[in-house]
């Protein structure tokens, strides 16, 4: 357990040291959403209909930004090989790193979603499913993205491959996430898709760290 | 074949298009391994 606390503390210290690294994704999220509004007529009523899609794709792109460096620096400076030698449970280490990544890049997006939703013309009652959906969805982005980052950690051109590999795995998350807001907009029950999203989240949290650990070990051989 | 047959009830483009592309893909799956095999054998012989 102390080992996991050590990893977590290090991630936070690293973030504190290199502030730009984790301030960039939320900033990017805001910019993407704002640029979308420039794409349509000023206060276009249509924008509210597209708000869920815009916000969710923005969250996905913001998460992808910081995923590439998740394991690359550790691999390059030798920390990864020391972790492998130290026999700490790698899957727990991966879980903690995923959690740290979510805290630093996923959580700010969840907090920013409500104001941005209003900016896009979302009606206040629809903000609930939006924020709850993102709260359940962004950890999936971090862990599924983390798994793919572990798969491509050793590759020189891995960076370009990461989004392509993440996309198909993320489709259900985006469908249920954006879908719950759209269901709310159509007066349907927004709860059902959120339950599916929660199911995907539990599957992701339990299955992927173990597979990501295997991927990290494999990337080293 | 009667000219009527080729028109496929007005859907000639779609039916013959589908079968044409399908033939292409089946052929590719038959030929591509052979070409790759020849390329591999050449690299193996160069290594000799």
């Amino acid at each position: 357990m102390k080992a996991l606390a050590a990893i977590f503390a290090r991630e936070l210290r690293l973030a504190a040291r290199a502030k730009a690294e984790w301030l960039m994704p939320p900033l990017f999220f805001v910019i993407v959403v704002t640029v979308f509004s420039f794409g349509t007529r000023p206060n276009d009523p249509q924008l509210a209909a597209f708000a869920p899609a815009v916000l969710w794709v923005g969250a996905l792109l913001a998460a992808l930004l910081s995923l590439e460096r998740l394991y690359r620096t550790d691999q390059e400076d030798g920390t990864l090989e020391q972790l492998l030698v130290s026999r700490t449970a790698l899957s727990f280490a991966v879980f903690v790193k995923g959690l740290a990544h979510w805290l630093l890049s996923g959580l700010p997006i969840v907090l920013l979603a409500a104001p941005l939703g209003l900016m896009l013309g979302l009606a206040p009652p629809h903000l609930g499913p939006l924020v709850l959906g993102l709260a359940l969805g962004t950890p999936c982005l971090s862990f599924i993205g983390g798994f793919v980052a572990a798969l491509t950690v050793g590759l020189p051109r891995g960076g370009a491959l990461l989004p392509v590999l993440v996309l198909p795995l993320i489709v259900p998350v985006v469908i249920f996430g954006a879908g719950s807001v759209r269901a709310a907009q159509q007066g349907l029950d927004a709860g059902a898709p959120l339950y599916f999203l929660a199911a995907i989240l539990t599957l992701t949290l339990t299955l992927l760290p173990w597979l990501a650990a295997a991927a990290l070990r494999n990337a080293f051989e | 074949m009667s000219p009527e047959f080729w028109k496929m009830g007005g859907y000639a483009l779609y039916v013959w298009g589908s079968f044409g592309i399908a033939a292409g893909i089946y052929l590719w799956n038959l030929i591509a391994p052979r070409l790759r095999r020849r390329a591999i054998l050449e690299t193996l012989l160069d290594d000799e």
Partner: protein, 194 residues
């Protein structure tokens, strides 16, 4: 009972067999110097012994699995954004050692106090190598596997390395190392040519 033993190891890179049916015994108090041309497979052998790489055949065993081993590769295992102290505190957390020994370890490798607090990216190669060597002192482990540990060390560093190694051997530890330089004076090593 050898501290580390390997039987019929076969190590492959891609589909090329680097080593075939390789046996090794590392006894307590022994310093083994692995020599061989570049690309012969020295690093791969060390990585396999350290458990980082799975051998194609054969297996290696540690006398005391619980104690584990120290591995020092070409890469120092230091995050360049953090200071030497932060890095070592992290490794104490991972290995379950008490952080109290950090200053003593850094003093042991003669890293100036000011340098201990600066981010590692601003340290010289030799200072980074010394900080990496300090990690070995944090927690006593019988077997040391060192890949080119002398890289970047100046004369003082070499003497320091000799002293640390002799102290470790005196306490019944064992060291298996590779180096293209000749070992510093007092060290007497059994040579093993690959």
């Amino acid at each position: 009972m050898p501290l580390l033993s390997a039987d019929q190891l076969t190590i492959q890179r891609g589909d090329r067999a680097l080593l075939r049916d390789f046996d090794l015994r590392l006894a307590a108090g022994e310093l083994l110097h692995l020599r061989g041309a570049n690309g012969i497979g020295k690093t791969s052998l060390l990585e396999t012994l350290a458990g980082l790489r799975r051998p194609a055949a054969g297996q290696c065993r540690l006398a005391d699995e619980a104690a584990g081993l120290h591995w020092l590769g070409h890469r120092n295992g230091l995050n360049l954004q953090l200071s030497a102290i932060d890095n070592l505190r992290f490794w104490c957390g991972i290995n379950g050692a008490s952080p109290a020994g950090i200053d003593a370890a850094l003093a042991g490798v003669e890293l100036p106090a000011r340098a201990r607090r600066r981010a590692c990216r601003s340290l010289s190669a030799g200072q980074k190598r010394r900080s990496a060597l300090a990690r070995l002192l944090l927690q006593p482990r019988p077997v040391w596997l060192l890949d080119e540990p002398l890289d970047g060390l100046d004369a003082g560093g070499l003497a320091l390395f000799a002293a640390l190694t002799q102290a470790h051997l005196a306490q019944g530890g064992a060291v298996l190392m590779t180096s293209h330089q000749t070992l510093p004076a007092p060290l007497a090593a059994r040579e093993l040519i690959l």
